[in-house]
């Protein structure tokens, strides 16, 4: 008994020492990631911030001077606010449709696919084996005026005679949905796959119809996947410009298109930088509000 009493504090101290040492190593593991973020994210963002305050009368040839020209932001907003609205509208619709299509798909893979589960997952990821750009170009052909999809829609009367798909908002949003679908489906699948099927059975045992069981048990438990999936879809969709460029016209252009042309065509760096930062800030505010609302930290 006395051995037990004297032993206990000693082993306790040893354990504490060990966890302290482990914690020290833990910090070291963060270093490569931090370094990477510092060099490739923090530093360029600071650079971007300064660029956004350059004198807009400068040019690529004559150089820019730092004049703390905050009016760049006002100019950027007044000239392109409609592009912002369009970007968020397109990205919002894209996210919603991806969720509505991706959820049943992820659910089916997680609970109903049986031995086809991994095959179906590979199918979800398969598009990544070809470049984003090529796949979007392919959609140009698929949606082209003489293409099968347009002809079919004209045939069943959804499109009028001579109506188009390409160069419309529908084409741009369809492209966005197609391209971001895996980013929605995979986190949803990961969350649903973790849901213990016995919990769904338990809900049924406790007088929940399948629909109620889904509403009260399955869906709340899949919330981490819903949040991750919607963020992974909405954020990049807001900044996308490839779909609008390849499947749309300037009438469907999004903020991304404007930033791209300001940077690469007009060399209007201050405008491009301030647009980028506005986009970043607005998306950040929206995401914070959304995550607070969804309250994922409540979930175990």
């Amino acid at each position: 008994m006395s051995a037990g009493l004297t032993n206990r504090p000693r082993t306790g101290a040893a354990v504490d020492g060990e966890t302290a040492r482990r914690r020290g190593w833990g910090w070291l593991l963060l270093v490569p990631g931090m370094l990477y973020l510092g060099i490739f994210f923090v530093f360029p963002t600071i650079q971007l911030f300064f660029t956004s305050l350059y004198d807009p009368s400068g040019s690529f040839e004559t150089g820019y001077s730092m004049t703390w020209h905050f009016a760049n932001y006002v100019d950027a907003l007044t000239s392109t606010w409609n592009l912002f609205v369009r970007s968020f509208a397109y990205a919002g619709i894209t996210t919603l449709v991806c969720l509505l299509l991706g959820y049943p798909l992820a659910y089916a893979i997680a609970f109903r696919a049986g031995r086809w589960k991994y095959f179906m997952l590979v199918l979800v990821i398969a598009p990544f084996f070809t470049s984003f750009l090529l796949r979007t170009l392919a959609w140009r052909t698929i949606l082209s005026d003489q293409g099968p999809v347009t002809s079919f829609f004209q045939l069943i009367g959804v499109l009028p005679e001579g109506g188009r798909l390409l160069a419309t908002p529908v084409a741009v949003i369809a492209g966005l949905i197609y391209n971001f679908m895996p980013f929605m489906t995979l986190p949803l699948y990961a969350a649903l796959d973790k849901v213990d099927y016995r919990l769904i059975e338990a809900a049924g045992d406790l007088y929940s119809s399948p629909l109620t069981g889904f509403r009260k048990v399955t869906f709340p438990l899949s919330m981490p996947g819903v949040v991750a999936g919607t963020l992974l879809t909405f954020i990049p969709a807001c900044g996308d410009y490839i779909n609008a460029e390849l499947l749309g016209t300037p009438k469907q252009y999004m903020v991304g298109n404007r930033i791209q042309s300001a940077f690469l065509t007009e060399h209007n760096y201050p405008l491009a930088a301030s647009l980028s930062l506005i986009l970043m800030a607005v998306v950040l505010v929206m995401v914070i509000a959304y995550v607070r609302r969804a309250g994922t930290e409540e979930l175990v």
Binding site: A202, G204, D205
Partner: protein, 377 residues
């Protein structure tokens, strides 16, 4: 309580998975208000039976009746039956109170708040009502699962290995508690387990199940004292099974030849039909005496034994006695302290009363139902 209008009846219940018959033409009645245990090794079909009663599995054949109502194909959420799931299946995103209230709220019960509080008190979880399941210990989670099912006042409560995840000490405690609650509320409990001690401690009636069929059904002591198959003899406790030849029946006493020595078995305990049989005796029913001691009046006597192993386990001493035909017989003796222990190599005779033995058909495997090392937890 004597009202039998809500007896649970299974009629010719069968479940096939492909070619595998999990439950084979099962017919039984669980009287209302009883504590019924389905006992068997893993894969014997007991959980499948339970799931068919819960509605989580559709039978391939047969019917499930609650009183006069056929519920065979009624969806689980429409059955007055609730389940305490193995590993509990508590909703991790809901608090203890929300878990317990779940069934009442789905049925739109108005005063669910008070009922939930009462139930949480009954299962002694008052201080934990607002916690999440992950913050509770295994024993507490087990009580939440019980409360969550019981609050709905089901006609039948199904318990699927409810204590399997608890450690031994807690399991004993919960066995007593479950039995107390069942006695108090008089709800029919149908309990599925592979733990024979758990079944014997709690149940009024045990059905021993093996390979989809019920081997024997009855009160725990009947099953233990008078098993009808080698599976039951071995699965419930331990048995010595000795090959014998049936000679004659004299005055309700079956006389058998046991490697040249004659012993008797009460006729009502003989379940053998052929000439060959297994003679079964429980180890604690056998008394080992010094060889040649002449104190065996009215008992069966087998001579020529020799002690080959002595295990002192505190309350009792467990001997292995090698008999002349080579078989080792287990003999358990209470450590009453009234006589000294035998030692390895001591010559002994073994005796037992004719109404403590049983006779089983020789066609069965003498090792059926024995615990393999993997089964022992």
């Amino acid at each position: 309580m004597a009202d039998s209008s809500k007896d649970l009846r299974l009629e010719d219940l069968t479940k096939r998975f492909g070619d595998f018959v999990a439950v084979d033409d099962l017919t039984l009645t669980v009287p209302q208000g009883s504590f019924f245990a389905l006992l068997g090794p893993s894969g014997c079909g007991k959980t499948t039976t339970l799931r068919m009663v819960a509605g989580l599995e559709d039978p391939s054949n047969g019917r499930v009746l609650l009183g006069d109502e056929d519920v065979t194909y009624l969806r689980p959420y429409k059955r007055p039956v609730n389940t305490v799931f193995q590993s509990y299946a508590l909703f991790p995103h809901l608090t203890i109170a929300e878990n317990v209230a779940f069934g009442l709220r789905r049925r739109g019960v108005k005063d669910y708040k008070q009922k939930t509080l009462d139930m949480i008190e009954l299962v002694q979880l008052g201080p934990y009502a607002d916690r999440k399941p992950a913050q509770l210990s295994g024993g507490q989670q087990q009580r939440v699962a019980l409360g969550r099912a019981l609050i709905n006042q089901p006609d039948v409560l199904l318990l699927d290995e409810p204590l399997g995840a608890l450690d031994l000490k807690l399991r004993r405690q919960m066995q007593i508690e479950l039995k107390r609650i069942q006695t108090e509320i008089q709800t029919t409990f149908m309990h599925v387990t592979h733990d024979q001690e758990e079944a014997m401690t709690m149940a009024d009636t045990i059905a021993v199940m093996n390979q989809g069929v019920i081997e024997q059904m009855g009160a725990p002591d009947d099953l233990y004292e008078n098993p009808v198959t080698t599976f039951v003899a071995n699965f419930l406790g331990q048995s010595n099974l000795i090959r014998v030849e049936v000679l004659d029946t004299v005055d309700e006493n079956v006389v058998v030849d046991c490697y040249g020595q004659k012993v008797g078995v009460v006729a009502s305990r003989s379940h053998a039909t052929g000439r060959n049989a297994w003679l079964g005796v429980r180890p604690e029913k056998i008394f080992a005496g010094a060889a040649g001691a002449d104190d065996h009046a009215g008992t069966n006597l087998l001579t020529g034994g020799r002690i080959t192993d002595v295990s002192f386990v505190g309350v009792s001493t467990q001997y292995l006695v090698a008999m002349p035909w080579g078989q080792e017989v287990m003999v358990f003796e209470q450590n009453t302290g009234r006589r000294s222990l035998f030692r390895n190599g001591d010559p002994v005779d073994i005796t037992w009363s004719p109404d403590h033995a049983f006779l089983l058909d020789a066609g069965q495997d003498a090792r059926a139902g024995m615990m393999t090392p993997e089964d022992a937890e």
